[in-house]
Amino acid sequence: MKQVPQKDAPLKLNESGTWIREDVSYEVNEPDAYALEEALRQKEKHGGEVVVITSGPARASQVLREALAKGADRAIHLEDNAFVGLDALNTAKAFAAAIKDEKFDLIFTGLQSDDYGYAQTGVILAELLGWPHATIIMQIEKTDAGIKVKRELEAGFFQFVDMPLPAVLTIQSGINKLRYATLIGIKQAKNKPMRKVTMADVQSAVGTNLQKIERLYIPQKTKKTEHIEGPPAEIAKKLVDKLRNELRVL
């Protein structure tokens, strides 16, 4: 799971124009919330354990605490400011190193993050682990040989895929209905184990970034936008005038 800036948080660039200033509010990356929910549902159906993992500075532990409150059993936090600057390949390498002694059957990730939007980390992790993967998943069923998943394709098409375990799945938003943490869940979360992994612990697995953000900036507008201002009644009048006389749709 990943912690990302809140959807409507105003973002400011840092002085070197390479990243945002960190003093914004954060929340759980929405697709990851669906991935967690799906893991909890699979556990409720088939038993087992749900482990949540994130990388990022101390603030990112909030994502893990929320997940534990919703029902995850334990958490792993790769905690260091330096994890923020890793590219998708090195983030996946750090995760792979951190879980090398675990015996997971399934790894779920959100299909992409709301900050970078690379849509790569889950698939890269599968390749590093040598596991099969499937992306943009809308349904998961257990079968005798492994699992059957429903992939969302483009233009309203879908496809069922049979695959063996262990596997990595990237989960599409909307696959399920998200639950809220209960008060008792929040209380119980305090006593659930959270393993901290430092950069030093995984350093030997992490290499130099293969790509670099040279500049981050506010996109230039390509379209001329006319602002319509005033009290609501006036805006409504101005708009209808445009719809009628300029756009001719009324």
């Binding site: 970078y116 790569q120 890269i124 993967h133 496809q159 506010i218 996109p219 379209k223 609501p232």
Partner: protein, 331 residues
């Protein structure tokens, strides 16, 4: 070996995905910029017919990369085939469209080759000798110029609509096609895909609507949709939504606009409380006129809006419905 640019066009079940023409346009533009020759490849069990279609464009060469194991599509087979082919050809730059299929295999392919992909780019820049690829970040609120710090091949995917497919230049005559047979061992492909299917017949064809009133998270509650519905009705348009609204079940999935829904280009697109995440924008940016109402003045939807109203939709929409009704009544 000299530097080349390779475009991997997308085929699915023997048909060329039209978005591939956009990637060819991008490749042609980059070829002019860098002086590197442009080649294209089609990957599949029977790539020949599509290779012939692609060979009409201005390219140096087209490759049909074939193996019976490439049908049906699996990420294992596609990554294995392209790894063999690309390792042999050593192109400098490998371009693909940012489709669901490419998203499914390109991170695996790049990782298997010890390389990286800059995904979902909307353009490129040349900064001295350095190529920079521009991509949207933070749901389109910011943009980033990203460079490769690793050795080639460099993998890049371009967002749907980033280049004009109809601008792909035709060649003077058909270019040579070379068939490359790749070997994929029996144990490589682990997934067993079944037939592709469509869930239910799309009840509403929003592509035919001239006016669309579309709602996003800003609508807050399901019961508030009624307000948007009244506006759509007054305007004689259809109601639609961004993904989160349909995910919540507030409107059926067939009312969804965006990369996983319908792509529309109506005369008027009225976006109410839609922030304008990339996935939504790609489905409606072709609209003739876009009016956006959002209380966040920095919402990315305003980047592409013709008319911007920064304010609360619950203040704006009720008088707007009244004014539209009045205007209609006046004839």
């Amino acid at each position: 070996m000299s530097d080349t640019i390779l475009v991997v066009v997308e085929q699915r079940e023997g048909k060329l995905n039209r978005v591939s023409w956009e990637t060819i346009t991008a490749g042609q533009s980059l070829a002019v910029e860098t002086g590197w020759p442009l080649e294209a490849s089609v990957v599949g069990a029977n790539a020949g017919p599509i290779a012939a279609e692609v060979a009409s464009k201005k390219l140096a060469k087209v490759y049909a990369v074939e193996s019976p194991k490439l049908e049906p599509y699996t990420p294992d087979a596609f990554a294995a085939a392209l790894k063999q082919f690309i390792e042999a050809k050593q192109p400098k730059l490998v371009l693909m469209p940012h489709t669901y299929q490419v998203r499914d295999f390109i991170p695996k392919l790049a990782t298997a080759m010890g390389r990286t992909a800059i995904s979902d780019c909307i353009g490129y820049k040349k900064d001295g000798a350095k190529l920079l690829f521009t991509r949207q970040m933070f749901q389109g609120k910011l943009a980033a110029d990203v460079s490769f710090t690793s050795d080639a091949p460099w993998f890049v995917t371009f967002q749907n609509g980033a280049f004009r497919g109809d601008k792909a230049e035709a060649g003077a005559s058909a270019v040579p096609i070379e068939t490359v047979n790749v070997e994929i061992a029996d144990n490589v492909v682990r997934n067993k895909p079944q037939e592709v299917f469509k869930e239910a017949k799309q009840a509403v064809d929003l592509t035919q609507a001239e006016i669309i009133v579309s709602i996003g998270r800003g609508i807050k509650e399901q019961k508030n949709i009624e307000l948007a519905r009244q506006l759509a009705e007054a305007l004689g348009g259809e109601i639609a939504a961004s993904r989160p609204i349909c995910d919540s079940g507030w409107l059926p999935m067939d009312r969804q606009i965006g990369s996983s829904g319908q792509t529309v280009a109506p005369k008027l697109y009225l976006a109410l409380g839609i922030s304008g995440a990339i996935q939504h924008i790609v489905g409606m940016k072709g609209s003739r006129t876009i009016i956006a109402v959002n209380k966040d003045s920095e919402a990315p939807i305003f980047e592409i809006a013709d008319y911007a109203i920064v304010g609360n939709l619950f203040d704006i929409v009720p008088p707007l419905i009244e004014e539209v009704k009045k205007a209609k009544a006046a004839g």
